[in-house]
Amino acid sequence: MESTKKYWKGLEEVNNTPEFAEHSKNEFAEPIPVEELLEGSGLNSVAPRRDFLKAMGFGLGAVSLAACNVAPVQKSIPYLIKPEEVTPGIPNYYSSSYKGGSILVKTREGRPIKIEGNPSCLINQGGLNGQAQAAVLDLYDISKLKGPLKGGAEYSWDDVDTYVKRQLSKVQASGKVIALVSSTVNSPSTKAVIAEFSSQYPATKQVTVDAVSYSGIIKANEANFGKAVLPQYRFDKASVIVSFGADFLGTWISPTQFTKQYVSNRSMASLNQKKMSRHIQFETGLSMTGTNADSRIAIKPSEEGAAILSLYAELTGTAVNGASLSNNNPASAAIKLTAKELLAAKGSALVISGSNSIATQSVVNAINSFLGSYGTTIDLDNPSYQFAGKDEDLTMLLADMKAGRVGAVLFLDANPVYNHPSAKDFAEALKKVDLTVSFADRADETASLCNVIAPNHNFLEAWGDENAIEGYYTLVQPTINPIYNTRQAELSLLVWANYPNQDYYAFVRSNWEKSVLGLTGKKWDDVLQAGFVALPAKAAGTYSFNGAIDANEVLKQGKALAKDIELHIYESVAVGSGAQANNPLLQEMPDPVSKVTWDNYAAINPKFAESLGIRQFDIVTVKTDKYSVDLPVIHQPGQAQGTVSVAVGYGRTKAGKVGDGVGQNVYPFITYNQGTANFVSTVTVSNTGRRDELALTQTHQTIEGRNIIREATFAEYKKDPAHGSGNNDEKHPTYDLWGKYDQPGHNWVMAIDLNACTGCGACIVACNTENNVPVVGKDEVRRRREMHWIRIDRYYTFQEDGKNLTEEHEIVDMQGSMENVSVVHQPMMCQHCEHAPCETVCPVLATVHSNEGLNHMAYNRCVGTRYCANNCPYKVRRFNWFNYWNDSRFDNYLNNEFTQLVLNPDVTTRSRGVMEKCSMCIQRIQAGKLEAKMDKRVLADGDVKVACQQTCPANAIVFGDANDPNSEVSKALKNERTYYVLEELNVQPGVGYMTKITNTGSQEA
């Protein structure tokens, strides 16, 4: 049975706006002015004979000059003394660590060019998200400082050291506080450095604060279990997951780790054993996690507390006063059904909340305790140290600063002037501090107000270590000499503390030899090679809730929000908290849900927007009595009525060339409750009358209502695994116009599990860095000229009253309620068709087939007719409208000598006027084959991994040789769920997709 659901990619498609109808027919957004040229002054105008002769003469001269046969003089400069381990042309891999997860850094001729996950990493298991993939570009950022600054002028390190030491001693003598403000520090060596520093300057007080804080959970755990920690969640052990606004696949705590765990119960392997978890999401804005939920219920931020309380009441059977969702009947009904499912899954249930309110998290703790989650799905004995910020510490520091009790402030990885709600007060209070030092790598919002900036190394230049979860220690090792005149922050602290041994490598090493290595008996070199040390995990104990539920506080917080339009503040999957805002790869990575690039925006439900009279792209003023911003609006299906969602991480003013002025800063909207920052507020929204077209990648390539998404429910799947895949139907008869290609060697194919893919976009960034895919900027994305070789198509569909909508007119009629949408993500790249339509139309044979099942693209042969893009049924070909890597108009990416160092030397940078597309990482295939040939062995399955597959936290992409019947990909393609997109065209794509399975549970929630 083929699905009868109607899918759409954006509201333009549902509404069938005239622009959409027009654009949907064109591959390129802007028509080429051929007609104008022919009809207008182009051909009809008379070219004077003299002009003609001049042009001819010049042309001839130019051609003969160009033909002068002069060999270009290129210098080749070998090493003076070559390091033993470096062979030009062969990459070296070094283990290191990024945000607590072990990584492998690929370097070529001494420069890092790519970051891969370490497959044996306990946290990420080889997966990496987009931010980690993009981090290698931060190393070469030209907006960073080239050396230390004092009072805005360049100084030498010695001068800075003398000045800071003198000032610190003064502060110490005066009895004032030396505050070290940092984001979470989980590095044992950094902690030891801070201890050294504190012993030299006993007035030191450490203040830990995270831009996006989890202190609500930590405080609640302290109150309820006596453990002030962030627990480790085990989504792999949960059969029923209920999340209240926690975007755990996208941004919440440790998304890559959680994706790995979450998908392990939903991927092909799990489905083959007829096992699948059930995931229910209650949330305000449509988050990436919400798009993956089996059931998603839109609730307002003000209803969240009540919903959690009523779930508690429903589960335990105790009545909680006022815990009703009287205004939201669907949610109320859903809570009752959720309770039933949770009770049935006692011991393997997991309830989480994205709230940072202590009272709310306490209720969640009580629920989990009741469900017996502690010891199974929640581990308090092996806690996570990824976030340890305490919001109230900074509030106290602010008060101290205002009162003049603080003599010195040092900022380590902290930028409160940008990301603290009271940033203005903070900036004012900074003036009262005698010595302000920032270790930021750039003169950011906070650092530019400091007396001294002592720029820190990038993590790829530094020694260090991290301890992200209990018993798991990772090492950071440098992979390049410092690019600018920077110095490791820890070393600066040691120098200022007059520590005798001023070599941070020696410090880290001796610190490890004293502590971690002693516990394991391993040697430093072995650990450095492996990248980490894992101590055996402690047994996860069971904990029972030992606190009080403050229902009144929870309800009070809700009521406070319900005044006006409710503002929901979230972290975007691409840009995150904004620390990496100057990274063009992340700015251009489309939001997994809205597909917006280069901006944040106010997401409003279409129906609600209509009632406010706000069209898409209208600029609205979002306002509280203290702060207001102007933001463009996007009509976001799935958004709760009466709410608006805006992402933090934008509106940087001093991030650098790329990040400055992108979007608006909404950190100041954050409110405080019980000392913790709450990412909600109540605002008014008014139309400014101005408009700003967001750079969307959303409706660029339509599917004309074709059957390319196939799905089934878990119940249907259990009865018939091929359900919904179309594999049971009679196939369309096919005729081959072309002869068959012989593929005696390899046949490279791919299988993508739609049920595993969460849409996170890590593959896009991985592909960009691997294949030198250019960043084109906001304006070009608006013109639909983004260059991503792989995109993730997001299709909405919606269900109303338990029945699927099938007809187009019904969808138009159903405009009314745009809340209950469900979403399918479909990664789409060149399908490497056996009968590729692009190959047939290329007039110069620039794109041809290989005997390994690949569709080759020879850039130097392409003349840019763009016929291939027009003829591609999958719309995956990308045209280079400019020399993006060497054009001053695209100044935000590669157009400087530093960022160009990130290019992969094995892949050509394409020039203007040529077509490009996914090559299935042919450079990796060739390298893998060559390695096998040199070792005189058979190329084993898994030897070649393509960039998107390697980074995918969900293992949704399998790549390999179809000629090997035992390869992973052959097995995957034989799966009953596998279908091919547009297979009725008989282009015989090389990429198979597996149906999306939705676990609607025993009863629809």
Binding site: L80, S850, K933, K936, V938
Partner: protein, 447 residues
């Protein structure tokens, strides 16, 4: 006839200039070659000078076979310079040292320990196989050679400098002389022509034979004029010209960007003829990347130093270090006297000869290790090249041709087993070339 004379004069001036230039150019080239030759002949003469004594001859042979690897007479190599050693140490001490230096050091001899310390605690290997007479022979040789070296070397060094400047001043004087002579010749010739002309004019009045001559000239032109009027002839001439020029032009255009024979001047006059040809050094000793990487790699200077720490070609340069080898030392800031590396390094900027465009991916290891192709196949008779030039055209046609013709080196390589078997099933018995396995596909080299 007057005309003739003035024409001739106007011709004469550039002609004279051209002669002057030509003559001076010839002189210049001779002048350049001359010092090189004289240096070449001077060197062996200096080395061979002096009367050998019987003992010293035997000592020289012994010295070369036993000591020469680490010692030189007048300069420090691995061990100290040996000239004057006889005066510094007693004969008895030297005998002990040469036969077994470590014993001497162990015995606590002050001098021995001092030397041991100075040379980074590397003891000289003992030579117990040498008899006392052998040692005496060697010592005599050292004594003689040391005495002789001091005298002639100084003489040559003093003589060489003025000779050099002499050559260059000689060149300038010669040039001036040639110009003067040429000018004189021209003046004289001009005079002669003038006289002759005057004679001719005188005779003109007497003889009336002009008409005949002019008639002959007219006839000659008439043939040309006749031919010029023949349209068919003109057409064919033009056509032939066009075809010739066109085909030459066409052939030439094909060579646009082809740099076969490109032979840039390199910063070091490194000779592959000497290293790869005469000395038979394996290519991959220096170009080690060719075996395992995409790049064959120009060797880093530490590879040069493996040999050139000792090989300094001093015998060819009057005991001085070869200026080309000195360039390595300068680049590394290496002091051959102290054998220490400094910090004032300056990398050597070679000029790349084989400029494959960026759009083409070429991997040496695939061709060298997997296919087992000789370097010479693409790089030509490299062992005969004193200066390397581009041997192959490096065009795509050239690549493709080779891929079409070369059979895949699949023997004993398990990677190919399955591929070849599958291929044989499809096309039985055909030669399995690189092309058959997809070696002509765009994406194999362009990505």
């Amino acid at each position: 006839m007057r005309n003739f004379s003035s024409h001739f004069r106007s011709f004469l001036k550039p002609l004279a200039l051209a002669t002057v230039i030509a003559i001076s150019a010839i002189n210049l080239t001779f002048a350049q070659e001359a010092p090189a030759d004289s240096a070449a002949t001077a060197a062996p003469a200096g080395a061979a000078g002096g009367g050998p004594s019987g003992d010293a001859t035997a000592g020289e042979a012994l010295f070369k076979s036993n000591c020469g690897a680490c010692h030189a007479i007048d300069k420090r190599v691995l061990g100290p310079a040996l000239a004057g050693i006889n005066e510094k140490q007693s004969n008895e001490w030297l005998h002990k040292w040469i036969k077994n230096s470590s014993d001497l050091i162990a015995s606590g001899d002050k001098d021995a320990v001092a030397i041991f310390e100075e040379y980074n605690k590397v003891a000289m290997p003992g030579f117990p196989q040498l008899s006392d007479t052998d040692v005496d022979d060697i010592l005599t040789y050292i004594k003689d050679a040391g005495a002789k070296k001091a005298a002639p070397v100084a003489g040559v060094a003093e003589g060489a400098a003025p000779a050099d400047t002499g050559v260059s001043s000689f060149m300038i004087i010669g040039l001036i002389a040639v110009v003067l002579i040429a000018f004189l010749v021209i003046v004289v010739l001009n005079r002669v022509i003038g006289t002759l002309e005057r004679l001719l004019v005188k005779k003109e009045d007497e003889i009336d034979a002009n008409d005949d001559e002019e008639g002959e000239g007219k006839d000659r032109l008439a043939v040309v004029k006749k031919l010029a009027k023949n349209k068919k002839f003109v057409f064919f001439v033009v056509l032939a010209l066009l075809i010739t020029l066109g085909s030459f032009g066409y052939m030439d255009l094909w060579n646009t960007g082809v740099q076969t024979g490109y032979q840039p001047v390199q910063p070091i006059k490194f000779s592959h003829q000497l290293h790869a040809g005469t000395n038979q050094i394996e290519c991959q000793y220096c170009h080690s990347g060719a075996w395992k990487s995409k790049n064959a790699t120009i060797p880093s200077l530490n590879v040069c130093m493996n040999c050139h720490k000792y090989v300094q070609a001093t015998d060819k340069y009057n005991g001085e270090i070869s200026p080309e080898i000195q360039k390595i030392y300068t680049a590394l800031d290496y002091n051959p006297e102290t054998q220490k590396y400094g910090t004032n390094t300056r990398p050597i900027e070679w000029v790349r000869i084989h400029n494959l465009p960026d759009l083409a991916y070429f991997n040496h290891s695939q061709h060298v290790k997997v296919a087992g192709i000789d370097c010479q196949k693409c790089h030509g008779p490299i062992q005969e090249m004193a200066e390397v030039y581009q041997y192959s055209p490096l065009t795509m046609k050239w690549c493709i041709n080779c891929h079409k013709e070369t059979e895949v080196n699949s023997k004993g390589n398990a990677y190919y087993d399955k591929v070849i078997a599958a291929h044989d099933q499809i096309k039985k018995g055909e030669k399995v070339t690189a092309a058959v396995l997809g070696g002509l596909e765009c994406g194999k080299c362009h990505y």
